[in-house]
Symmetry: C2
Subunit: 145 residues, 2 copies
């Protein structure tokens, strides 16, 4: 399969795929003429994996350090690569907690806002300031109901 099809199947851009290859995260053969990249069908899963890792916030370098543990029969399981994985594991845990927290607070805000909007909206589309005043010092996302 060629790069265009791989891009379509994975929803990524051709440029990104070349970038992944350049970073050593994705490999390809060359067509007989040597002109075009040819990818194995497995590349689809590989690219999806890469995008998942990217979306979790891992960098190319970190991904490159993890991949050998994934797909070589005799992975370079150095203490260092394990340490990297453990650090990433911990980081992801913290990141999840932060996101969960933010998400909860966002939920409160949305709740508050929609109730506000439903109850009382002026023609300008803004919320009338009919309930308790919230001072500027009342910052932070928490909205006490």
């Amino acid at each position: 399969m060629r790069i265009g099809e791989l891009a379509r199947l994975t929803g990524s851009s051709v440029r990104s795929l070349r970038y992944y290859e350049e970073q050593g995260l994705l490999d390809s053969q060359r067509a007989d003429s040597g002109a075009h990249r040819v990818f194995h069908a497995d590349a689809v899963d590989r690219v999806r994996l890469l995008r998942q890792l990217y979306s979790a916030g891992l960098s190319s370098k970190v991904i490159a350090s993890i991949l050998p543990c994934v797909d070589t029969p005799s992975p370079e399981l150095t203490e260092e690569s394990i340490a990297i994985m453990q650090a990433e594991y911990a980081r992801l845990g913290e990141q999840m907690a932060a996101i969960a927290d933010t998400r909860d607070q966002l939920h409160h805000l949305i709740d508050h806002a929609t109730r506000h909007l439903a109850a009382d909206v002026d023609p300008a589309g803004r919320c009338a300031d009919t309930d308790r005043a919230r001072t500027h010092s009342d910052s932070g996302l928490a909205v006490t109901p």
Copy 2:
């Protein structure tokens, strides 16, 4: 309080604080001479909030669209800003799921690697290839035990 102290209290750089202000996310007065920024004590919480939102992956623009809902008595609760918050809420949910997934898979990898390392390590610090061969087509992070 001046910018240096705010930086110390929040663990951020002076440069970052100026950047937040530039993006309209943090406000300050000016000292009588007009030369230095002066921040209210509330700014500490504000900056912590900003850093939490950043760490959850929100961009300055998105944060800017959310903040009015947080700290003005008559927030511009347009349908649009609510839609932004809902979109971010949904995005955070997906992101958490992706991260959780990645984290689990990382956990499997670490498990596998440490067991491997404990059982059989050669002097070069690599894992000997003593168990079942894993072909290249066996990509993906899942490690079946």
